[in-house]
Symmetry: C2
Subunit: 396 residues, 2 copies
């Protein structure tokens, strides 16, 4: 039999007993009192305690620590709503308990397509192999007419970015409609003579997103941005597995902070922004960087990146995009922390450059070149990068 | 101009300034430095601080309390993903902050259909006006063959329930397929000679749920159960507004505990299980009762019920279903706390009755009758209720 192993951080008089009670309660409901015939029927659906580990004792004398429970794969359909409902639906409401990890066997994950492009697929589209990619965020989108957004887009492309993403709060867009943006930016990209991926914010009724994505691609869209958590993981799975959707999907972490930051409740960041995003098929995943004001603890941010990229049979890796508070002086630290395969993603660090957004982009391009060549940023050419460093410094 | 007022519980050096910074940062991004022409363009999208209220000071000398921000309705499309992304997408990841309330004006809510049946619609379907309704939960579902589930269903109907719901973790159902259950239970209901609503667990790919619901109704389904949070609010909105889906929708709170229990993070229970469920169109909403082991603080449970039922122009009220830990001895307290318009929902309190599930149901029916007649439970007839009281007592 094949099991999904789930780890929780919780408190109980006795963690081992708690694991056993969850294993039974969250699967077949009750066990010891069942007649033998029923036990035989239900055996294949019974969860099993898979260990516990005390981390500390609370003031009330409770054990606090990790419990592990094995759920039979037979209890799930192959989708994330089934997974989350079964392992944390009711249990999430049962006192102090945080869902920290889910390990699915290949017999489960093989039913998910995972990222269609992954890191290599995105790199191939851009024809860039030897450095981190560089992405920019619009300064703002909502309420602006198309011509102003096209201007912003041009500045970003001129500055040398590889990817540009819409603002995730760009919903009503009458002044710069979805399909018109795609076409207008596509023209800018063509004029630039190189490939740039534009992640257009895919919004609307959840049941219309697949069709809207297909039409977007027909109009020339080459990347999609999705607020995965507000829409639900399942639509990401459907988009990623759809044969007509042949462009990378970028997952925005909007709402993730409603899940991960509490030590006692919710769902850990490496699971909700790492494993589940990858399983559901995000090619690129934004998550809070460990540096800026909207920050994650360093270890947690690195764990997200690990979950997105570690070897998993049948699943391509997703591109980690540590975001928020990124300026050119952080590029060496980003490379140290995330290696070659990450995306340098900046907003204020581009638009806030003293010489404007084109110089802002160029400063990052220079910082990435310097870092890849092993040159300390301060010693690079006297150009946009040095101006950026004067403003923001270099993070060591 | 029309605004959505959003309240957050947060900490900051200065809450008033925090409200202002959120109002600008989460709408147009920046303001004071913008040229006049751009201000004119963006004025209609600019958020406004709408007050703050200090509740305490933290050990670090920060102000802790409520901030209120008004977001222009013009910043939203009329759906809950847009609402949550805009008011709490990025902000959820910005330190200690909990989304506690959202007040939408009628100019926004009028674009939602809300509950199609509401309390009165459900009552009319059952032809019961003068008492709380009574619902039962299967003892367990997963892995059981249809004939055993039909037996469980019969016992529940014989016991006198008005509604029966599937187990929310009932996903793989090869031994008792979705459409077969609907037909088999429908027959039991018809044989009983009275109406009973059976909430069948609607599962599958999110984009297929509307079609599956329609087919279920064609097969005789008279109620649908949905794990709203794992699937995302938007599919609930779509089901509720669909003209062919003419049966009540019951929202299960699965995963809600990943959002509401932390004092510092997440989304408050009365918002996520109350207001948003109603706005999205749930006719019946399960939420943790203030009594059992899976318990909410009493005030919070009552606030959910208030959010589901208080007068709102253009929105029918949703039926409150305080759940978990309910036994017959709690019926008077349920009535005291939730009034006439609630649903007495029990699982263990029915199946655990010493004389079996039929007596278990009858005990509740008696408890409801006694309570409606003002008779103390202990003084009611010497039947199943008295046996239940001997086991579980009477809660005062």
């Amino acid at each position: 039999m094949s099991y999904i192993r789930v780890s929780y951080l919780t408190e109980a008089k006795n963690l081992e007993q708690k694991a056993e009670s969850v294993a039974v309660g969250m699967t077949v409901g009750s066990w010891t009192d069942l007649p033998a015939a029923k036990k035989e029927t239900l055996q294949g659906h019974l969860g099993k305690a898979a260990g516990s580990h005390i981390l500390s004792h609370t003031e009330d004398g409770l054990e606090r620590g990790i419990i592990k429970v094995d759920y039979p794969v037979a209890n799930f359909t192959y989708d994330i709503p089934s997974l989350l409902t079964t392992v944390f639906g009711k249990l999430s409401m049962d006192g102090k308990i945080k869902l920290v990890d889910i390990d699915v066997p290949e017999s489960f994950s093989s039913h998910f397509s995972g990222p269609k492009f992954g890191i290599q697929g995105v790199r191939q589209r851009l024809n860039i192999q030897d450095r981190p990619l560089f992405m920019s965020i619009f300064k703002s989108c909502i309420g602006l007419p198309l011509n102003e957004l096209v201007e912003q887009f041009k500045f970003q492309v001129e500055g040398g970015v590889d990817l540009v993403k819409d603002d995730e709060i760009f919903f009503p867009d009458e002044r710069a409609p979805f399909f018109d943006r795609i076409e207008a930016y596509r023209e800018v990209i063509q004029q630039s003579g190189r490939e740039v991926l534009y992640a257009v914010n895919l919004t609307g009724p959840v049941t219309e997103l697949v069709d809207k994505a297909k039409r977007a691609i027909d109009k020339g869209a080459n990347c999609l941005l999705l607020n995965v958590l507000p829409y639900g993981f399942d639509i990401l799975s459907e988009l990623s597995r759809h044969p007509d959707i042949q462009v990378p999907i970028m997952a925005h972490p909007a709402l993730a902070g409603a899940f991960y930051p509490s030590p006692d409740y919710g769902i850990a960041a490496p699971l909700i922004l790492g494993k589940l995003m990858r399983l559901a098929g995000a090619d690129l995943v934004l998550f809070p960087s460990p540096y800026g004001s909207v920050a994650l603890p360093r270890e947690e941010a690195l764990s997200i990146a690990t979950a997105l990229t570690e070897e998993k049979p049948g699943l391509l890796p997703s591109f980690p995009v540590p975001s928020a508070g990124i300026h050119p002086g952080m590029v060496p630290v980003l490379s140290r922390d995330f290696g070659l395969d990450h995306i340098v993603n900046a907003g204020g660090g581009i638009h806030g450059h003293p010489d404007g957004p084109v110089a802002g982009g160029q400063a990052f391009v220079e910082a990435i070149k310097a870092t890849q060549s092993g040159i300390p940023l301060e010693e690079y050419d006297n150009g946009p990068l040095q101006t950026a460093i004067k403003k923001w410094g270099v993070v060591k």
